[in-house]
Symmetry: C2
Subunit: 206 residues, 2 copies
DNA sequence: TGATTTTCAGAACCTACAGTCTGCAAATGG
DNA sequence: CCATTTGCAGACTGTAGGTTCTGAAAATCA
C-alpha cells in the first residue's frame, strides 16, 4: 500500500538500510507474472522472485496477495491501457482514432507470447466470478472504457454511419476489443486481429 | 475418462455396489463450480461435494483435476454452447439468425448470477495462458465458432452489407460475442447486452 | 562509536491442496 | 451363504500455498 512513488525520487536518502529492488520494475514484473499465470496460478514465491523483491518487503508494501494484484492491475492500467485509451482521442477523424485504438489494443494483446491477451479481460475477469472486490474493479474498468468510447462517438457523431444509439455502440466497440483480447489468449494471428479492428471501424464510420 | 454414458442405460445392472451419484448431474455440477470459481479457485474437495461424487470415484472417472476440467468444458459445450451455435442456422434470414445467436449467447452469460459470463471465454481463457493443453482446447473452440459463423455468412452472402471479407467478419462477430461474455462477468445489464447484439447485427445485415 | 531505523534472507507456521489408500458397504453370481 | 465385484467414506500423505517471525545487514544520525 505504501509503495513509494517511483517517479519522485526523495531529495535525500532516508535512514535505514536502502532497499535492493526497483519499485517500478518490481510492479512491472508482478504485472507480467499475473498476466501470464493468472491470479491463483501465480504463487507469492514466484512473484517475489520475479519482482526481485523480498517477500517481507512485498507484504509490507501491499498487505497481501490481493493487494498486490490490485496494485498490479493499476500499474497495468497506467502503463499499458492509458496509451490505448489515449489513441481514442479525439486526435483525428473518428475513423482514424478508432483504427488507432484497435491497433494499439491488438499490439498490446499480441506483443509478448508469454503474456497473451489482456490482464483485465482474461485474468481479472476470471477471478471476478466470486471475489466482490475484483468484480467491482473489473466493472469500473469496463465502464471507464465504454464511457470514453461513448464520449468519442458523441464528439464525432456526424461521422457515424447509421442511427444506432451511441451508448450501445460504445459497448459494442469495447466488446470487440475485449473479444479480440480473449482471442489473442489462444494465440491468434496478429494480422487477422488487426483486420478485425479495421473491419469493425469500417462498419460504423467513414 | 471411463465415465459411463449417461444416455445409454445398461440393460442389466452390473455387479458390485451401485454408484450413488448421477453421472450427468455430477458433470453439470462440476461445470457450475468451475464456471463460478475458476479452475484454480475450485478445489477438488469443493468439486467432489458439489458433484455429490466421492473423490475416489472422481479420480477413477477423470484421472486428475485437469481431466475433470476438460470433461466439464466438453459437457458445457454439449449442453450450453451447442444450442447457441445452432441458433446460427441457417434457420431463417441472416439477420434473424445472427440476432438469435446473440440473444442465446447473452441469455447464457447472464442466466445465473452465480455463473456470470462464459466458461470458455472467462475461465478456460485464463488458464490457457500457461497450460498448453488448455490453450489448444481454447483455440479449437474459438476456431470452431468462427468457422461456423463464416459458413453462415457465405450461405447468406447476398444479405451482407458492405464488402468486408467474410472470414474477417466472422472473427469480428465471434469477438463481439466473447466480449459480451467477459462484460457479463462484471455484471452487465442483460438488456444492454441484448441491444449490443442487435446493433451489431444491424451493422452487417438487413 | 553507538543508537536508531529500515530492509533483507530465510526459517517457521499453519492451512489447504491434489492425490492415494484402506477397510467397509452393497450389490450380483453361483 | 460365500466369493466376487464395485463403490464409498474418510483417514492419510506429501507438497505447496499464503503469511508471519526472527535475527542479521546496511544505512543515517548524534
Amino acid at each position: 500500500m505504501s509503495m513509494p512513488d517511483p517517479d519522485r525520487t526523495p531529495p535525500r536518502r532516508s535512514r535505514g538500510r536502502p532497499r535492493g529492488f526497483e519499485p517500478h520494475e518490481a510492479l512491472d514484473a508482478a504485472v507480467r507474472v499475473f498476466w501470464a499465470e493468472g491470479y491463483e496460478g501465480a504463487s507469492v514465491n514466484r512473484l517475489s522472485r520475479g519482482m526481485r523483491m523480498p517477500k517481507a518487503s512485498l507484504y509490507q508494501a501491499f498487505g497481501d496477495k490481493e493487494g498486490l494484484f490490485l496494485a498490479a492491475v493499476h500499474h497495468y492500467g497506467d502503463t499499458r491501457l492509458v496509451p490505448v485509451a489515449q489513441a481514442i482521442g479525439p486526435n483525428g477523424s473518428l475513423h482514424d482514432d478508432l483504427c488507432a485504438f484497435y491497433e494499439a489494443a491488438v499490439r498490446l494483446g499480441t506483443a509478448d507470447p508469454a503474456t497473451p491477451g489482456c490482464l483485465i479481460s482474461c485474468v481479472l475477469a476470471e477471478v471476478a466470478g466470486t471475489n466482490p472486490r475484483f468484480r467491482a474493479e473489473l466493472g469500473a474498468r469496463f465502464t471507464a472504457l465504454e464511457t470514453r468510447l461513448h464520449s468519442r462517438l458523441l464528439a464525432g457523431r456526424s461521422e457515424v454511419i447509421g442511427d444506432s444509439d451511441p451508448a450501445v455502440l460504445a459497448v459494442m466497440l469495447a466488446s470487440v476489443a475485449r473479444g479480440m483480447m480473449v482471442r489473442a489468449r489462444a494465440g491468434a494471428d496478429r494480422d487477422m486481429l488487426q483486420a478485425v479492428g479495421r473491419a469493425t471501424v469500417d462498419l460504423i464510420s467513414r
